[in-house]
């Protein structure tokens, strides 16, 4: 077990509701006892469990995206590969709406998702957690700060790089179609909090099993900058990458941040098929460029249990 893993000293539980002892009055007042049973969760039992947080990359980060006609493929023939993918992520938190009890850990980690362990990074283990549903779960992907920590196998130089630049996400990779290859090295200070996470089947938060362990998997997606809209909820979208070549103004095969900021969305991301609703003027230049589009997409890459969504997203410093 890695020494960064949180056990107890960063683990906090704030349960504002005291357990209630029930007197054995069933024979004397069966109706009242039935009423008490109906509210058993309030006079809750002693079941406890463990919550483990695993940060995992989507396959698109580790394996890339392939061209094709099925929904998960890049529809316009591009092959996308990442060679480096770093994120800042942490402040994992959960709340029970019924009692307002919370668990959480404000630690933020810098993680190399391209080289993540097979099962992901175990960032936190919360023990002795009430075995009930914790219906509110969220996490942050803030802009990196000096207090952030690395987790092996993330290299210290990657941690330092993210902190020095204040990035929330940084990636390097390439797009290739026919004889054309476009490389990119992009970092963004797109700090965002992700809240109200629900699993792909729509269940809010998670349920802790008594005497068992629930694995929570904040999942980082690697294909959103190739979506044709900023999805919320179910990812109804088409993946397209032709804009990589369109925005490479100097046609040198390397697409820079400066070129993204100069790339007009009306040319690279035209209204059909694109819908740019929710894209903001991120750099404040008064226009919407492809840079604004990519940053807005970076504010949506945090997911939950695979394809589950965290629909409440707010900017973070």
């Amino acid at each position: 077990m890695h020494p960064w893993i949180s056990f107890g000293y960063r683990f906090q539980i704030h349960n504002k509701m005291k357990p209630c002892r029930v007197a054995p009055v069933a024979l004397a007042a069966p109706a009242l006892f039935a009423l008490l049973l109906a509210f058993a969760p309030a006079c809750e039992g002693t079941g406890k469990g463990t919550v483990q947080i695993f940060v995992v990359p989507e396959d698109t980060i580790t394996q890339g995206l392939d061209p094709g006609t099925d929904m998960e493929s890049v529809q316009d023939g591009w092959t996308i590969r990442y060679s480096r993918f770093l994120v800042a992520i942490g402040n994992f938190r959960a709340t029970r709406t019924d009692t307002q009890a919370t668990i959480g850990d404000s630690t933020v980690f810098i993680l190399d998702l391209r080289n993540a362990p097979t099962s992901g990074y175990v960032t936190n283990t919360f023990t002795n957690v009430d075995a009930v549903r914790w219906d509110k779960f969220g996490f942050d992907m803030p802009n990196a700060k000096p207090s952030n920590q690395g987790l092996a196998p993330t290299r210290q130089e990657d941690v330092d790089f993210m902190i020095q630049n204040g990035f929330s996400v940084y990636f390097e990779g390439s797009g290739q179609k026919d004889d054309t290859t476009i490389t990119f090295k992009w970092g963004f200070a797109a700090g965002t909090s992700f809240s109200d996470c629900a699993s792909p089947d729509g269940l809010a938060g998670f349920a802790v099993p008594a005497s068992g362990t629930i694995q929570i998997k904040p999942t980082i997606h690697g294909d959103h900058e190739f979506f044709d809209n900023v999805t919320q909820g179910v990812e109804i979208t088409t993946r397209l990458a032709q804009w990589l070549e369109i925005c490479d103004a100097d046609q040198n095969g390397d697409l820079t941040i400066a070129e993204l900021k100069a790339c007009d969305v009306t040319v690279a991301l035209p209204e059909s098929p694109y819908d740019l609703t929710s894209v903001r003027d991120e750099d404040g230049d008064g226009l919407i460029t492809v840079f604004d589009y990519v940053v807005s997409e970076m504010r949506s890459i945090g997911h939950y249990q695979g394809d589950g969504d965290c629909p409440t997203r707010l900017p973070l410093p």
Partner: protein
Amino acid sequence: MARRHVSMIASMGACLALAGTLVAACIESPQTLVAYDAVVVPQGTGSATLRGWNVTLTRADVALGPFYFCASASGSSTLCEQAVDEITSVALIDGLAFMQQALLGRVHGLSGSVQSAAYDFGISWFATQESPTPAPNTPGPGHSMRIEGYAQKGTGAFAFTADVDVVPQYQGQNAFPTATAEGNITSSFYRLEVRFDPTGWLKQLDFDDMAAQLAASGDTVFHIEPGTREHSAIIVGIKNLAPMDFVWIPLSNP
């Protein structure tokens, strides 16, 4: 024995009190049916300086609706399957009627909190429709809006027109699938104001390029139609640079 009995009753009483509290906590204040007017409040003067050009609008006929207001933070159809309040009709309004508050429609629904909106500009694509379908009262007919005006910079000037279609991207979605809209409607004594500045919708237009195109073609009026780069620019203005604001104004009881 008597003391033990008292203790049992006290314990039972404590838990019953707790249960009672929980019962009260579980029963939310009942929602009530509400109905109130929505009006459009055009902002600005119809003139603005955009990318170095003085732009004046002479016509802005806009089809608005239907509107759906959601309790969820996102108005996306996959996150807001049922609206709290809605305007099901489509209204054709004059976006340059700055001194008026034209009736947009009647809002029907329930009391409660609104956190987002989703809406169309007269062209909807409901799950039951095979393709995007314009309402009968759209300008054109068949478009979301008709805009006319002129742009002037130094000694150069040109007129322009725009037939704009704001079309839902996917079946079952709205043309504007989610927008910020925050209100807490407690009764029918409210007025919803929908505010927008139609000149803001032209912020992404490249007037220099439009002038150059006109000079090259010899035309005197620049016509913007769906499928063009300029049309995409207006859509960006509508959705990203100058989206509509929704303000709920409480009214005093009559």
